[in-house]
């Protein structure tokens, strides 16, 4: 079986969970004997101006490769990178500022009519995000024509690639699978961007099968997008880890409770602050750390100052790579109070580092975990209670850390990939009829 996949960022250039998920998923599929042509928009293409680069997967970042066995798997995978400025986690409004920033740092732009420039991906970038999405679709259409006969099914990740998926389907006649890693409702609450919503909905309607990362997301898709239930299946994410855990020497002897993520509405940072204030009233020997950045950061800092807990509540700013591992290694409790989280891989990473976790019931990951404390994101009393319990009663924390590690180790991409493969088979068969 061969699949043409329109993916996202790929390691090492990752901005969030989606890149990690695509990576694990592709790897799992390869293990299951599925051949993948992975097409990624390449926002970092400034160093190489060739239009399409077919990368030998074994050349991809060494950090994520592990051992000999992998080379066999990667024979099934091909990469194509397309120059595009699109990045995940971005709204059309943000795109405007982002685009100017990338221009300032010196990306080269050439004049020309983008619609007629077949293959000239280094041509002028679209004037706005939606135009760029459309331009990407034109490119994808061309890719599908060039690769005719080399794939049986098309798989598109998240709304920015849906037009590309539809275009590829139109020219090739192959079935389309779209993968919802997040919905517009997760990103924006009830005040959704209607254009994004329309693309998501259009993509799912055009698709032969929709994959959701959790039942939570599946319900949103059925109830808010009006997609027929039988067309939507849930494929829970899994997690894959770097081989070795980092040991970090602790500078402070207090217990450390960590929030790690973008400081935005979706992640519920303000509930974490309120819970912190409640815990600190009871026990002083705890420090809270908020790692990340985002549009709510200044608001949160002010709130922390007003609550008078700023000597025990620290901000690290945005963390990268090794610093993230370092932060986990320093933590005693990890909290993910997301208001709406389609899946949420970070608690799994925390558990992998032996950190007991507290997660909101409004997250997809809550569906697959038993050894994590689950609270409603708005229930700051329960959250404070759980934090207090985990830091003051060592037995409880230890149990969660030990059992949690076993639990996450059992979440394999192989299993998720098998489920995806079954989905492919289903649509291919339906398509033949």
């Amino acid at each position: 079986m061969r699949v043409l996949m329109f993916g996202w960022e790929f390691p090492p250039h990752i901005a969030g969970g989606l890149g990690t998920a695509c990576y694990g998923l592709t790897r799992g599929l390869a293990r299951n004997g599925v051949e993948v042509i992975f097409v990624v928009p390449k926002a970092y293409g400034d160093e190489d101006q060739r239009f399409i680069r077919v990368v030998n997967a074994s050349d991809v970042d060494a950090v994520y490769r592990s051992g000999e066995a992998d080379s066999e798997i990667w024979k099934h995978v091909r990469f194509m990178e397309i120059n595009s400025n699109m990045v995940p986690y971005i709204s059309p409004e943000q795109w405007e500022t982002e685009r100017h920033r990338s221009e300032r740092v010196g990306t080269q732009h050439h004049e020309g009519d983008v619609w007629r420039e077949r293959y000239n991906f280094s041509g002028k970038y679209g004037a706005n995000l939606l135009e760029e999405v459309a331009r990407y679709a034109v490119v994808a259409r061309q890719v599908a024509i060039e690769l005719e006969g080399q794939f049986d099914v098309i798989h598109a990740h998240d709304w920015l690639t849906y037009y590309a998926g539809i275009a590829a389907k139109e020219v090739s006649g192959k079935p389309l699978v779209v993968h919802m890693h997040a919905t517009e409702y997760d990103r924006s609450g009830e005040n959704i961007n209607t254009q994004t919503y329309a693309i998501e909905r259009g993509g799912m309607e055009a698709a032969d099968l929709v994959m959701a990362v959790s039942n939570l997301t599946r319900n949103i898709i059925i109830n808010k997008y009006g997609i027929p239930a039988e067309k939507v299946i849930t494929v829970h994410n899994a997690v894959r880890f770097a081989e070795n855990n980092i040991e970090e020497e602790r500078g402070v002897k207090d217990k450390i409770v960590t929030f790690l993520g973008r400081i935005t509405f979706q992640k519920g940072p303000d509930y974490f602050v309120e819970a912190a204030a409640k815990v600190l009233k009871r026990t002083p020997n705890v420090r809270f750390v908020m790692a990340g950045s985002g549009d709510m950061m200044n608001h949160v800092i002010r709130r922390v100052a007003r609550l008078g807990i700023s000597d025990r509540f620290h901000f690290t700013g945005f963390l990268r790579g090794a610093d993230v591992q370092k932060m986990f290694a320093l933590s005693d409790v990890y909290v993910m109070p997301s208001v709406s989280e389609p899946f949420g891989i970070s608690p799994l990473e925390a558990m992998r580092s032996n950190v007991p976790t507290i997660i909101s019931k409004q997250s997809g990951v809550a569906e697959v975990l038993d050894y994590a404390v689950k609270v409603d994101y708005w229930d700051v009393d329960a959250m404070a209670d759980a934090i207090y319990g985990l830091v003051t009663y060592p037995a409880l924390g230890k149990l969660f850390a030990r059992k949690g590690l076993e639990e996450v180790t059992g979440l394999k991409w192989n299993n998720a990939a098998a489920k995806i493969k079954a989905g492919y088979e289903r649509v291919i068969n339906e398509n033949k009829k």
Binding site: G251, V252, N298, A305, R306, G308, S310, D311, H314
Partner: protein
Amino acid sequence: MKTVCLYFQVHQPLRLKTYRFFNMGKDHNYLDDFANRSIMQRVAAECYIPMNNLLLKLIRENEGAFKVTFSISGLAIEQFRSYTPEVLDSFRELAATGCVEFLAETYSHSLSSLISPEEFRCEVEEHVALMKEEFGYQPTAFRNTELVYSDQIGEMVADMGFKAMLAEGAKHVLGWKSPNFVYANSLNQKLRVLLRNYKLSDDIAFRFSNMGWGEWPLTADKYAGWIADENTSGEVINLFMDYETFGEHQKAESGIFGFVEALPAAMLRTGELKFATVTETAAENQPTGVLYCTHAMSWADEERDVTAWLGNELQNEAFGKLYDLREKVHALNNKDFNYVWNFMKASDHFYYMATKWFSDGDVHSYFNPYDSAYNAFINYMNVLSDFSNELQLALEAKGCEAPAACEAEVKEEVKVEVKAEAEAKPAPKKRTCKRKTTAAK
């Protein structure tokens, strides 16, 4: 005959380096040594050295008719010692002329007068001791950090034995009254208060090089003419400004040094004006009235209040958390901890956390090493948290859990010393400071 009182404020904060959460508990060097050194050396080369030399020349040329007053914060002196000792030498040379007065102020350029009378007193005593040590000078007049003044602060200052104090000629306090007279503090009328003429002071400090200003270019003769003019009523004209005005805020290219060089002669030539130091000005002129100032005022921003440092929740939180540590610092009384305690108190850190950008945003951002008030706050709190931790550990190591127990024991040993010192010098009268002079490193 009007008296012109020239006063210059010399201060440089010790800037903090980027101190992350990950540094806590491991790294106790809080300062950005590179920035502190390079800024100090630059300002010394552009301002302190050339301006000191110029003043020295003018004082000698005018044979006692030209006088100036300085106040130099303890933090600035610490940095002179470390990075530019030649500046210190040059100030000593000025002190030796007898035409230069040095005022007492808070050692660390802090806002302790607003929160802790005890800490305030300690800092002033520390600074007075420093002035004696460095310049052999016993200050008789006082200026508070950023000219922060209120009736109560004035009373404290009078209690410490000072005869005169500086304040802002703020419109909201003066109303119809003129800053060009000497006033008395309302709670202790023995304390004379000199008020800054902000219009004439800012003509030099802010507007001198502004080509859009109607009076540009400002010449010494024109300026002296304004002051001597009969429409400028009053007895004293107080021109108070940052010393860094000369060569730093107003660059040498603007002609500021030429202006200063011509100023004494231009003033004296009018026959209407004479120069005096702060103490002389206060002594020679009778107070014309009592100044009532129930709320603290300062020389900063359009509002002339203390909201530049204590105007939002970030600043209030950091300020409160800092002074919560006071008892512990004094109980421990360790040289290294006192050193950190001093530079953490500097008002500048709170200034960086200001979020009022409408009226005086450009002035704020000029002085600010951080790109936002929030970053300034985070960094400051990280340092403060680590300092607080280390303080606690040091106290525990010393064997006293609660600060109270420790203080009692410290009191004993210091009392003796205090007595001895009190006999040696008459002013300042009261000595409640439990601490020796800090960290001459």
